[in-house]
């Protein structure tokens, strides 16, 4: 049930991109300002996690777009201390699971092993772990889709379209 609602939330987050007005989306690392809610090693680990969720391909991935800093900013400012605590706990769990399965820290795993760890966490029985991974994934997707790079280069953001057409054929 929890998982279902988490998936539903993700759908809403992405649907929001289209149905919410443009101000509701978007950020850049410059607008975030300094955020130091995690230790340096924790932040590095989070960066590897967001990069695993959305990796660099022929376009930048979540790490180089600094999506991990967006995730930190959102959790610190908008979600409260309990969720912040769960983030820190979740990061510990990630390395525990990585060590348990592969005898290595998460950062030292290859892409497939990393994906296995995150998939394992997504299926965890523990609600706190589930909340951690779904929130990080949700915020990573929101942060990525609303970043300056993606908005301008992949989603063709226009502040002032100057029109509304109610019934347009989808280009195939």
């Amino acid at each position: 049930m929890k998982r279902r609602s988490a998936v539903k939330n993700l759908t809403l987050a992405v649907a929001g991109l289209v149905s919410l007005p443009a101000w509701a989306s978007g950020w850049s690392s410059a607008s975030l300002g300094p955020v130091a809610s995690l230790t340096v090693p924790e932040e590095s680990l989070l960066a590897e996690i967001v990069e695993t969720i959305i990796p660099e391909t022929d376009t930048p991935g979540a790490k180089s777009l600094k999506v991990h800093q967006f995730v930190m900013r959102m959790i610190t400012d908008c979600y409260g201390s309990a969720v912040q605590g769960n983030l820190e706990k979740g990061l510990l769990t990630v390395d525990q699971v990585a060590n348990g399965a592969f005898n290595k820290a998460f950062s030292n795993l290859d892409t497939r092993q990393r994906t296995d760890v995150l998939t394992h966490l997504q299926k965890a029985e523990d609600p706190a772990t589930q909340q951690f991974i779904s929130l990080v994934k949700n915020l990573t997707i929101r942060g990525y889709l609303n970043s300056e790079y993606v908005q301008l280069n992949l989603l063709d953001y226009k502040m002032a379209p100057g029109f509304y057409h109610g019934c347009v054929a989808i280009e195939s």
């Binding site: 998936v7 992405v14 609303n146 029109f163 109610g166 019934c167």
Partner: protein
């Protein structure tokens, strides 16, 4: 800026004083200065100059660090303001913060306020539907509140007058229950909205029209709008930030600069009105007491007429606080009804659904508007077990149905693939509530705000009629969506949504034919103090279902015209 010697009565004397600079105060300023009257416009909040004081208006999306979401500390500090749909990162600076302006809720009432030059005209939702004769006739026909002293024919020319200047887009639908206005070109309905409209026409024999909303946007400006310095709406849909192009109507972009150009307006921000001064010998009001928002020093200003446009509940507060020997219970309050019969719009519930057709179409661009379902219940005669009825907004968008499972390169590719799901529609109810004596505003006997003004105490609640109407909205809309082929229909009543979040509170200083049962006459003058005019939402005898601002504008222009004539005749 001329040097103002506060010790001189002469420089503190004007022909007219307007209290408030929001949507109705702006119109008072424009009309009174247009009559050549030297007019003092008092605004309790800070100045907001068109264009230059819209700090977020030109921000790119990625310049907001929290995707518009308010930080938790701000939400916790503002439990009331945070309930407002528009209290977000881009516009929160235009909303009153809870701690700065306390009030007392005898019953839950979320009072959403905008204290600045322009008031809530900066952040309003811009819906502008005319009232019809069936709305004005409501109280007399159905036996509630008190009979309106005016009808549609009295206000129709003034609707036209304000529509031409403000710029209202809409379609001439020819509906008796929602009269046409002076329209700029309408926005387009989406294919799903058109489909719903056609299906409703067929199944309900044209008794339940679904039209494009009428709204205060310059879809095609006329010379009068260019003359105001306003330009075409660019479909940014960032309106609540203030529009640098003047694409929608606000006091800041339209009426106030127009009044300024006459050279007759003195605009004083940071001026908290304490009360209206009543002179027993003269038998009329002579001015107002104003507290400087910063120094808290009190100054009196004088004028021959006063227009009270402080917003519904603050107008009630000012009159209740204007006590004199002649009016110990508040200015003009011989009937004892001042502050009573407050009503609002019931915005508690919504309904959503999906449509599986039109899968090869989408919308493009942005529309600062939606479709609109005018009231169809009890319009021409009483036909249900509740009084009056509801209008409804109706909007649509295409859902995205991207596969968000998994992690990695596939997920990344899926995110920007734009895989479309069903069309989704949603509709929000805008229910008429019945003004009742038990829904009231009073002053607290002991508590005052930072300016020494008594706190307003609100006792306003839903009633059984509202509950029945919610049930009917669910039933009727479910039937309508079903016959039109919609699926996955879900209602979403939120009983915890307190009255007030509609931001359509009205009444307390109602108009009427009889001084024993009302506060204002048919020209919006206090029966008992004829040189005080109340033309904001406080004057409303009943509240119907339409977005109210257009009616306030028309009533204001009509009252100002009358005040000018009466001044010339020496009657005021």
């Amino acid at each position: 800026m001329a040097f103002i010697n506060i010790n001189s009565i002469k420089v503190r004397t004007f022909d007219a004083i307007v209290i408030g600079s929001g949507i109705s105060g702006g119109w008072s300023a424009k009309e009174l200065t247009g009559l050549g009257l030297r007019t003092l416009v008092l605004e309790r909040g800070r100045d907001v100059k068109h264009g230059q004081d819209y700090p977020t208006a030109m921000k790119n999306p990625w310049e907001f660090p929290h995707l518009g979401q308010m930080p938790q500390s701000v939400r916790e500090a503002n439990p009331i303001a945070s309930q407002c749909y528009a209290f977000n990162e881009d516009a929160a600076h235009f909303f009153v913060k809870d701690a700065e302006h306390p009030y007392i809720q005898e019953k839950p009432f979320s009072w959403i306020r905008g204290y600045q030059v322009g008031g809530k005209s900066l952040m309003w939702a811009r819906g502008t539907q005319r009232w019809s004769q069936y709305d004005f006739e409501g109280p007399a026909r159905d036996g509630f509140a008190v009979e309106w002293p005016i009808g549609y024919k009295d206000i129709a020319p003034w609707y036209s007058y304000v529509e031409k200047f403000a710029g209202i887009s809409g379609n001439k639908d020819g509906l008796p229950q929602l009269p046409d206005g002076e329209f700029l070109p309408p926005h387009e309905q989406s294919c799903v909205e058109k489909h719903f409209s056609q299906q409703m026409a067929k199944h309900y024999n044209n008794t339940r029209p679904v039209i494009i909303g009428r709204c205060a946007h310059l879809t095609k400006p006329n010379p009068i709008h260019h003359e105001q310095g306003r330009g075409q709406c660019l479909n940014r849909v960032l309106c609540q930030r203030g529009c640098p192009y003047g694409g929608y109507f606000s006091s800041n972009s339209s009426t106030l600069p127009w009044a300024q150009k006459t050279g007759k307006m003195t605009l004083k921000p940071d001026s908290v009105v304490h009360s209206i001064i009543y002179d027993e010998q003269k038998g009329k009001a002579t001015g107002v007491r104003v507290i400087d928002a910063h120094t808290k020093e009190m100054t009196e200003y004088y004028a021959r007429i006063i227009f009270l446009n402080a917003s519904t509940l603050n107008t009630n507060l000012i009159l209740l606080n204007s006590k004199s020997r002649r009016f110990p219970n508040g200015l003009g309050n011989d009937s004892g009804l001042l502050g009573k019969y407050i009503a609002f719009h019931n915005f508690r519930t919504t309904i959503s659904a999906e449509y599986e057709g039109f899968s090869d179409t989408i919308t493009e661009g942005n529309r600062p508007n939606g479709s609109y379902i005018p009231r169809f219940r009890n319009v021409f005669k009483q036909e249900t077990d509740f009084l009056r009825g509801y209008a409804a907004g109706f909007g649509s968008s295409r859902m995205l149905n991207n596969d968000l499972s998994g992690f990695g390169a596939d997920l990344k590719a899926n995110l920007t693939a734009k895989k479309y799901g069903n069309w989704r529609v949603s509709s929000h109810m805008m229910g008429e509530t019945i003004p009742k004596e038990s829904n009231y505003a009073t002053l607290d006997a002991g508590l005052t705000d930072a300016w020494g003004v008594p706190l307003l105490k609100l006792s306003v609640a839903y009633d059984d009629n509202d509950e029945k109407m919610i049930v009917d909205f669910h039933e009727q809309m479910t039937e309508m969506l079903t016959v039109a082929g919609f699926t996955n229909i879900k209602t979403n009543d939120q009983p915890q949504k307190a009255p007030g979040l509609d931001i359509h509170e009205m009444g307390g200083v109602r108009m009427g034919k009889d001084a024993k049962t009302s506060l204002l006459n048919k020209w919006n003058q206090l029966h008992a103090c004829k040189n005080v005019f109340v033309t904001d939402g406080a004057c409303m005898t009943s509240n119907s279902t339409q977005n109210p601002s257009l009616t306030y504008m028309a009533l204001t222009a009509r009252a100002a015209d009358y005040a000018g004539k009466e001044l010339r005749k020496g009657n005021l």
